[in-house]
């Protein structure tokens, strides 16, 4: 079975410490995450992507909800809005719509985005508002100690599915596409180079972009389901990720337990929310 391999050549050397320049000065390190938690890996890839794009820190607004993943913005030296559980997207919508020139990025978890925040998620997709959402999917509620989430696989264990999960799961990418998102991708914390590239693309895309990032919560999801430690879980991502192009050639049966990584959907025709409103404002001005 073909899996994704990172390209190791031609990397910019500054990537080893570029992150340090983006961390908040002062007392906030070490962070709250468990040893080996993939959230930190996403944060590294994110910072390298922003750095590569050369964005002005003052113009970046990081918005998040509540959860382990949602703590990420607190550590980075951007404008940051750490909001209530599930509500990052409507807060972010306020930020972006108020100042459309700002770069607005939402960091969220599978619980935050898809359980309590599911409505805001689909509506942000529908509006195709120019926000990049990085959904860190660790298949569990990490922050509260391992309860089932809308992406906890069937039959899996969590503290609220002690006899195995009897519910079915969302595919966040499918959901986003059906709801109207104009860019959808998936990566994993094992494939850091690809992840950095996907984040870069998501950030560059005009319109709503969703990047689902498969990550490890070995502390809860891993432990309760005998998936091993952080390293073992990272290795499993290597096993189970399949490039989008390859996935297209595979049968449903072959794809069981696997997931496609890469850019799943891109539509550059569909208009963006703030743009449409700006056009309205222009029309109003013209009328006067």
């Amino acid at each position: 079975m073909a899996t994704v391999a990172d390209t190791k050549e031609g990397k910019r050397q500054q990537s080893s410490d570029v992150a340090l320049g983006y961390l908040r000065p002062g007392k906030k390190f070490p962070n709250v995450w468990c040893p080996g938690c993939g959230i930190g890996i996403v944060m590294g890839a994110f910072i390298r992507a922003v750095d590569k794009l050369g964005w002005n820190k003052d113009e970046v607004v990081m918005v998040s909800g509540i959860g382990c993943s949602s703590r990420m913005p607190v550590y980075m030296d951007f404008n940051s809005l750490h909001t209530t559980h599930g509500r990052a997207l409507p807060f972010a919508t306020g930020v972006k719509f108020a100042q459309p020139h700002m770069k607005v990025v939402v960091i969220t978890g599978d619980g935050d985005a898809l359980a309590i925040g599911g409505n805001h998620f689909i509506h942000a997709c529908r509006r195709n508002i120019d926000i990049t959402t990085i959904l860190i999917n660790n298949n569990i509620y990490g922050m509260t100690g391992g309860q089932g989430s809308p992406t906890t696989p069937a039959d899996s264990f969590s503290t609220t599915t002690p006899y195995g999960n009897t519910e079915k799961q969302f595919d966040p990418c499918n959901l986003a596409m059906a709801a109207g998102a104009s860019w959808v991708g998936r990566g994993t914390v094992y494939h850091t180079t690809q992840l950095e590239n996907l984040i870069t693309k998501a950030l560059q895309h005009k319109g709503f972009s969703l990047l689902e990032t498969i990550s490890n919560c070995h502390t809860y999801y891993g432990r309760l389901n005998r998936k091993g430690d952080a390293v073992a879980m990272l290795q499993s991502f290597k096993e189970n990720a399949v490039l989008v192009s390859k996935a297209k050639t595979m049968t449903k049966e072959e794809l069981k337990g696997k997931y496609a990584v890469g850019v799943l959907h891109e539509d550059n025709e569909i208009t963006e929310f703030c743009d449409e409103y700006s056009k309205l404002l222009e029309r109003m001005k013209a009328k006067k």
Binding site: K8, D17, G36, C37, I41, A45
Partner: protein, 88 residues
Amino acid sequence: MSAMNTESGEVTEKSGPKNKYDYSKGPAPLNINLVWCKACNICIALCPKQVFEPDRDGKPVLARPDNCTQCTICWEHCPDFAITSNYK
């Protein structure tokens, strides 16, 4: 990032003897910030060249520094920004 070096140096001392890199050979290929490192074992396990060994606390020691190819894997996968390269 010399502040970082100092920080990691300090901690190294507190946590007992580690990172037996011979600085007389020039700068080490990598710096490990032992205050930030949480001993997750990722770098140790993922390094394709077995550069690291765990110390008593599970934190990485540059056991085979000369093997390092600067491939980026360890620092890109370190969740705690604890690894930086000395080659810029």
